[in-house]
Amino acid sequence: MSEVTYLEAIREALFEEMDRDENVFCLGEDIGAYGGAFKVTEGLMAKYGEERVIDTPISEAAIIGAAAGAAHMGMRPVCEMQFIDFISTGYDMLTNYVATARYRSMLPCPMVVRGPSGGYVRGGPFHSQNPEAAFLHTPGLKIVYPATASDAKGLLKSAIRDEDCVLYFEHKYLYRRIKEQMPDGDHLTPIGKARIAREGKDVSIITYAATVWKALEAAEQLEKEDGLSVEVIDLRTILPMDDEAIIATVKKTNRVLIVHEDTRTGGVAGEITARINENAFEWLDAPVLRVTAADVPLPYSPPLEDYVLPQTSDIVLGLRKLAAY
């Protein structure tokens, strides 16, 4: 089998799940005839028809709400946000209606909301967002954010089969930049389980999504230049968080750098830091540090965007500081 890109892996997951289960259907803006702004859903309407691949009005709250209603009835809707930045207009629907349906009303709401996320692409403040922290705070939702093509496929398939609502963030920078041979058969990546992207013993990086690749670059550089062995944990699932994997790496290296592309204050790193404090404080030989975006709306001009977003060089500095601690 040939290699497929991250984007193609997502598409494969959609085709496979729509084949497998007739209850799966897709809805979103321009996903049908046009195949989506990034062509993720290309070919889907041709194969499954207008009933199962629905071009909707520009109404994110209605897309999410309608998905919830259909999900109650046993359907398995997959919503596309044209850019994930527009999920903000469905914030109420997701956090109040969808996330609570099972708990308050014993109504299952198995659905997926997916969309192109993240920066490094000169998309400006409204086409580059990372919304995971906004939803981390909502019990009842699950959040995944794959970094590799095989996880992109495996997590989407798992998300579609999950009995609850999964927010599936896909990093648009990775869409066509990474390729991988897909595992054989019905490839499912479990939700809630992190992955060791690189084994190491001196310092740990905990990260997810696009910055996994920057972390790996920094790790390599440190191995070459400083002779340090850096472990990289790719969380894959943000909610529920894989405490076991986090604690295991802390116990192994005793030094942790958390890296995320999202802004710093109120980002996911804070939660991880708190969990490490609670569960593995004695194992820490250094403070948990964060490398993140600066606390500003992401500007669009290349020198500004580069300055705001975390770069490999920043991770290198962070690792050196921790190693020297």
């Binding site: 109404s59 209605a62 999410i64 309608a66 209603g69 109650h72 109504l107």
Partner: protein, 383 residues
């Protein structure tokens, strides 16, 4: 097709008395009496809840539909339960839930926050649902149920099921973005959905003219390219018939209808609201001249045999009695019900995991307030 009721929708500045009076649909005698039963059950059940509220047995606020019984009950009655039709009520649509099979004991338990209430004490008042019986529980955020019901009915269409959905919104809720997005989505998809706008003149304290500049809410149908119906919401047969036309249209593939039912909220937004903002005399006028149960009873009593009516007072009185007995039993059962087990709070956020672990400081502790007496400065309910 989509404009089939332009005539009705053109009735500018409609007031109850100017609306065309209704026939009797094609309801059987049994059905007519059943409609009366539901209206009476709704009113009496709410009256019982008021008693319980005054005894501080209700946790939280109490919401009434006094004077609006005809619209919720009449419209819900237009659905066909045997076909699996589904509705989504709002706070003043207790009656619609009863029509779909909700039981008084469930309602009282919900209001009393009991552990064996339908939501096990998680949600308040009538915020609960049962898909099997065909009603879905609302959330507080107004308008949100419209997209949800668009999705429910989209699934009917996708599966080629012969089912219809109905969603209630108040006059106030029509201002929400969710209402707009949901009704437009359903309109484009031609979902088998009926949107009932219960125009009771107020949203909390806000009169209709501060909610919209439109002369009548049914006009909104035009902008969505859907059918519109308007009826006297205090005439149960009229609400039944208008909604029935909409339900039939939906079932026949004719898409969404917006049904405006014109009624009046005689009580405050909730029990604590003193209605100081209401012009003097307005409530009394509606109560004395336009009570939906009085009107319906009168009609049932006066109608000739031929029209399927001609009930006598004793038949209605028997229904009233049956209702009270039912409510008495329900109250007894609810009062005897246990409060929830505190740790049940951790169950069922997700299917997987089915329960979350207690936080470290609660490990082995079953009830927060048993182990440590709640300081007197920290009271209980009084929203």
């Amino acid at each position: 097709m989509a404009r089939s009721s332009t005539a009705a929708s053109r009735l500018a500045n409609a007031r109850p008395d100017s609306l065309r009076s209704a026939g009797d649909g094609s309801l059987s005698r049994e059905q007519k009496l059943e409609l009366y039963y539901y209206m009476r059950l709704t009113r009496s059940l709410e009256e019982r809840l008021v008693n319980l509220y005054r005894q501080t047995k209700v946790v939280g606020g109490l919401f009434r539909s006094l004077g609006q019984e005809a619209d919720a009950e009449g419209s819900a009655y237009a659905l066909d339960r045997s076909k699996g039709d589904v509705l989504s009520p709002l706070i003043r649509n207790l009656g619609s839930m009863l029509v779909q099979g909700a039981k008084p004991n469930e309602i009282i338990k919900q209001y009393m926050a009991k552990g064996d209430s339908p939501t096990r004490g998680r949600e308040l008042n009538i915020h609960y649902g049962d898909l099997v019986r065909g009603f879905i529980g609302q959330i507080s955020h107004l308008g949100d149920m419209v997209p949800v019901m668009a999705g429910v009915t989209l699934s009917f269409k996708m599966r080629k099921q012969d089912r219809v959905g109905l969603v209630y919104v108040g006059d106030g809720a029509t201002s929400t973005g969710a209402f707009h997005e949901g009704i437009n989505f359903a309109a484009v998809q031609r979902c088998p959905l009926v949107v009932v706008v219960e125009n009771n003149g107020y949203a909390y304290s806000t009169p209709l003219k501060k909610q919209t500049a439109a002369k009548q809410l049914v006009d909104k149908a035009i902008g969505y390219g859907i059918a519109g119906e308007q009826a006297d919401g205090n005439d149960v047969i009229a609400t039944y018939e208008a909604t029935k036309r909409a339900v039939d249209r939906a079932r026949a593939g004719g898409g969404v209808t917006l049904v405006e039912l014109i009624t009046y909220r005689r009580k405050g937004h909730a029990e604590h609201d003193n209605q100081s903002y209401v012009p003097p005399g307005e409530i009394d006028r509606w109560a004395s001249e336009n009570d939906p149960i009085d009107r319906y009873a009168k009609r049932l009593l006066s109608e000739g045999e031929g029209g399927g009516g001609g009930f006598d007072q004793s038949q209605l009185a028997a229904t009233d009695k049956r209702v009270l007995e039912e409510i008495d039993r329900a109250t007894d059962e609810a009062e005897a019900s246990p409060m929830p087990d505190p740790t049940d709070a951790l169950v069922g956020i997700y299917a997987d995991p089915p329960a979350i672990a207690p936080l470290w400081f609660r490990q082995g502790i079953k009830s927060a307030v048993d182990v440590h007496e709640r300081p007197s400065s920290w009271g209980t309910h009084d929203v």
